[in-house]
């Protein structure tokens, strides 16, 4: 979902850059407060894993592929702020080193996948988690939040494209939501499998679980 240069006009990419800078600044401030000896290396490891996983496009119907965005994965493991920073580090590296996503569109890509995909995805996870208690609730929360995070990011991307006059909103929204409804299934499966593995081997590393631990002490 990385928007290249040329898809967005300045009236879309300038404001999204401003929102992205605001979001990153806020995340830096919030992350500083929660960093500990566990989360510092985990930010490196998660950046590495999400970058690697984003390279592995999986096929969906109609000669189209998708790949993990990793917003909910990073958000549940590191919390929404550090998780958003990890996604922003990955997006910036992809843009500057690998020509994946444009420099003018980097702000929009950060808004879509870091602010909305990670921050928004985490919010959905939290809401579902508190309304559906227990281990089953957590699982449903992870799966549903992953799927919705992709859909929401695709919706934001559609709005930016339409705002740029690149394509009418109705056309792009239908097409983007249609294809990402399938890509979101892949996102949910990968996120669920990876989080299940981490929860099994090192549950103490998971941000939302650490909060539970702290409140019990």
């Amino acid at each position: 979902m990385h928007i290249p240069d040329g898809f967005l006009t300045p009236n879309a990419w300038v404001p999204t850059w401003a929102i992205a800078i605001g979001w990153i600044s806020y995340c830096l401030k919030k992350t500083r407060a929660i960093l500990n000896d566990k989360t510092i290396p985990l930010m490196g490891v998660m950046s590495a894993f999400i970058f690697a996983a984003q390279m592995v496009n999986f096929p969906i119907a109609g000669g189209t592929s998708g790949h993990l965005l990793g917003g909910v994965l990073a958000g549940v493991l590191l919390g929404p702020y550090a998780g958003s920073l990890v996604i922003a580090v990955v997006l910036t590296t992809q843009c500057l080193i690998f020509q994946d996503g444009g420099l003018t569109a980097l702000g929009a890509n950060i808004v879509n996948m870091s602010l909305i995909g990670t921050g928004g995805g985490y919010l959905i996870y939290k809401l579902l988690n508190s309304s559906l208690p227990g281990a089953v609730g957590k699982k449903i929360g992870i799966i549903a939040a992953s799927w919705f995070s992709v859909l929401l990011a695709a919706t934001a991307c559609s709005l930016e494209l339409a705002f740029s006059g690149t394509i009418p909103l109705k056309v792009v929204l239908t097409a983007m939501v249609g294809v990402h409804a399938f890509i979101g299934i892949g996102e949910a499966i990968i996120t669920f499998l990876v989080l299940s593995y981490v929860l099994k081997v090192r549950a103490d590393l998971v941000y939302s679980y650490q909060l539970v631990e702290v409140s019990h002490e």
Partner: protein
Amino acid sequence: MNKRDILIGLGIALLVAMILSPFASPHPDGLERVAEDNGFLEKGEVEPIVYSPIPDYTFPGIHNEKVATAAAGIAGTLLVFVLGYGLAKVLKIK
């Protein structure tokens, strides 16, 4: 997170980059598909604003496409690991 955990985590990421990424689906992704179907894909074919050392995840100078992708994957995975770790370290110091 001790040294062993870090190495395991980074090792898994490197394995994904090295072994899985060369076999990734070559089909266009969701956004590219929508752009192609609706005739605005060529809008994105502008001159890049910045010079990217490893464009399109293909490590320059390696002729075998799968090896070039794996090499790009390893380089990128190590780079973002250092950047993510480094950012967290800097944030903690300040």
